[in-house]
């Protein structure tokens, strides 16, 4: 079992002819993901890594009965690409693109609420169910199939934590990088709910970071609704107010909202142990299982 993606996920890659899109489409295919088509305007009729390319996403998804779309298009066009993906009515859209203008994303988010589609990202590494499918840019080789669900706002930090788990022989059910932007499609609570309802997930790692109040909201959700053990990590304890730490969403406001202290305190209150380092997170998980 797993959440959201598995062997049956049929993926269309938007932007498959670009540098990133082409490279990662190949990586996804090599990992075993069922990449059924690509979509790039003006490139219809070509093939990339033996995958047929269509001019429009609607044709690609319809022709191949796809149920997921991965978005690899430059930030200026990513808003449009997400609207296009939402309008195809696939079940899952994963938007990797970093640097989507915030107001474009606010409009996408408004539209998202009217659809039945789940969006992951943008500015995220994607989602992987080890041994079955990965949609995005996560390095497949560091993951092992197992029973820990992982949700994170960060990419390389996720890899670090996964590496710590895998090296101890702790595998993962599914890992979801929800992305580092202020407005994202799937948030911690959505992911926690999915893992809570997944019989194959016996523990959850939640990697948060400074900025916003999603971790606080998640802590309160865990307190009320999650029986699966959760281990936390919060990046950015040393970040000064008013400075964006790489991710557009990783910023402590001048008024002191979005601090690591607040998030760690909230998780503590919810009974979630928070590791000081990634290896401390792995320690907690090991104890839990």
């Amino acid at each position: 079992m797993s959440v959201l993606v598995d062997d049956d996920t049929r993926v269309v890659v938007q932007g498959i002819t670009g540098g990133e899109g082409s490279f990662h489409a190949q990586q996804m295919i090599e990992y075993g993901t069922n990449v059924v088509a690509g979509a790039v305007p003006g490139r219809g009729g070509e093939t990339v890594h033996d995958v047929p390319v269509y001019d429009t996403l609607a044709t690609a998804t319809t022709e191949h009965d796809a149920n997921a779309v991965v978005v690899f298009v430059p930030p200026a066009f990513a808003g449009d690409a997400m609207f296009e993906a939402l309008d195809t009515d696939v079940d899952l859209v994963v938007s990797i693109t970093e640097g989507v203008p915030q107001q474009d994303m606010a409009r996408v988010y408004r539209r998202l609420g009217e659809t039945d589609t789940r969006l992951i990202g943008p500015n995220c590494p994607g989602i992987i169910t080890p041994g079955q499918a990965k949609l995005g840019i996560l390095p497949g080789n560091i993951f092992e199939s197992g029973n820990v669900g992982l949700v994170s706002r960060s990419g390389t930090l996720t890899y670090q934590v996964v590496d710590n788990l895998t090296q101890r022989g702790i595998g993962q059910s599914t890992a979801i990088g929800i992305g580092g932007d202020p407005i994202i499609g799937t948030d911690f609570i959505d992911a926690l709910e999915l893992f809570e309802n997944d019989p194959a997930t016996d523990a959850i790692v939640m990697c948060g970071e400074i900025g916003g109040e999603d971790e606080e909201a998640a802590a309160s959700y865990i307190d009320q609704n999650v029986s699966t053990p959760v281990v936390g990590f919060i990046a950015g304890r040393t970040a000064p107010p008013g400075k964006r730490m790489g991710h557009a969403g990783a910023i402590v406001s001048g008024s002191g909202t979005g601090t690591a202290e607040s998030k760690i305190a909230a998780l503590d209150d919810a009974g979630v142990p928070v590791g000081d380092t990634p290896s401390a997170v792995a320690d907690f998980v090991e104890e839990t299982l």
């Binding site: 960060s154 040393t238 008024s255």
Partner: protein, 380 residues
């Protein structure tokens, strides 16, 4: 997030029809005095730096005559305000007011939509008002599909108890929202929006922050950016395309990925060190980017040692190692000790390749950070 200076934001607001006091920018005492003379006393002399609480810190002075103008300009120009040097002042007509209001628009990230705010309690830090008397700030969420309806601006102004000036304030708020949307702002505000004895309203301050990720479609704002950058290293980071934040410690930090770099900072702190910066070189590890990153951190006088932390995901560790060797090979001598930690794909192959005459190699994040922290302590 690109911050406009007060005088830049006021220019944008004035072009959109929001009333602002007459003002002139000055970069020397003489210019400031001439400006004050031509505007007519009293005037305010205001430091143009991106620091909150300029007034309290002595960056704003109200002057009544030429002598006071001269001494105020002399005091403020060149002044150090919370680490930033004041290069220019805005000389501005002093407005007689009876009330100070607050109006602003920002993104409510948890709601995923913009929020417009109005308060009758302007003139002080609005975040203090929010903490002490949240009900004194009227908030109106805006549907990004339709934009702010005029009725919403009026409703916010009337609900804030603005009475006679409510419709005029609503007009200013509508204009601010339109600017917010048209210019891809992240936040925009007027505080205080002054009300005069005859119910005129005038924007006495102006804040406008713009989404970096949307600057590509705003050439006019991008042109203001160089002028607005406050820090040489941050300017350099912009040129190199790095996410960079300067901090106050002495351990330089370079890594890939925002979360991992933040975590590296935190672990430096955890082991008793003090981070000198946040520097994310992003995906891949081409030699040139590695060299640029090292160049930046080497050139920071505050840095005593460097930890270089890369988690190779798709990128293979051996390639990263080659990039690091190549980049460091460009330096005749390595000016500050560098500790490298390589993890992920082909990490062990990478570690074998790394030139240990140039760098110290550590296997884990924790040990690499400990080494760099020790190196930094050793230099003190």
């Amino acid at each position: 997030m690109m911050k406009l200076h007060e005088h830049q934001a006021k220019g944008v607001f004035a072009d959109a029809g929001i009333p602002t006091p007459s003002s002139q920018l000055a970069t020397s005492v003489e210019e400031a005095v001439d400006a004050a003379d031509s505007i007519g006393y009293p005037v305010a002399i205001k430091a143009q730096v991106h620091v909150g609480g300029r007034g309290k810190a002595g960056g704003i002075k109200l002057v009544e005559d030429e002598a006071e103008a001269r001494s105020a300009a002399d005091a403020i120009l060149g002044m150090d305000l919370k680490g930033l040097t004041v290069d220019s002042v805005l000389v501005e007509e002093a407005v007689d007011f009876t009330d100070e209001l607050y109006v602003g628009v920002t993104m409510d990230r948890s709601a995923g939509k913009p929020v417009a705010m109005v308060s009758a309690r302007g003139g002080v830090d609005i975040e203090e008002v929010a903490a002490e008397a949240p009900e004194a700030i009227v908030r109106e969420h805006i549907d990004p599909a339709f934009g702010m309806h005029p009725y919403q601006a009026r409703q916010a102004a009337f609900d804030a108890g603005l009475g006679e000036v409510a419709t005029d304030v609503a007009r200013v708020l509508s204009t601010l929202y339109d600017l917010w949307a048209a210019k891809d702002a992240t936040s925009i505000e007027v505080n205080p929006l002054m009300v005069t004895a005859d119910n005129e309203i005038i924007a006495a301050d102006a804040v406008m922050n713009v989404d970096d990720d949307a600057l590509f479609r705003h050439d006019d704002l991008e042109a203001m950016e160089d002028e607005a950058a406050d820090d040489d290293l941050e300017r350099k980071a912009n040129q190199y395309g790095f996410d960079y934040v300067r901090l106050s410690g002495n351990v330089g930090i370079i890594g890939n990925g925002a979360g991992l770099v933040m975590t590296t900072l935190d672990i430096v702190d955890y082991y008793g060190g003090a981070p000198a910066n946040f520097l994310d070189i992003g995906g891949g590890a081409k030699a040139e980017r590695v060299a640029n990153a090292l160049d930046m951190v080497f050139s920071d006088e505050n840095v005593d040692s460097i930890v270089f932390n890369i988690f190779g995901g798709i990128t293979r560790g051996d390639e990263v190692a080659k990039g690091i060797n190549e980049a460091l090979g460009q330096f005749e001598t390595i000016p500050k000790p560098v500790t490298v930690r390589l993890a992920g794909t082909n990490a062990s192959e990478g570690r074998e390749i790394l030139n240990t005459e140039l760098v110290t190699v550590e296997e884990t994040l924790e040990s690499a950070v400990q080494d760099a922290v020790e190196n930094a302590e050793g230099t003190n």
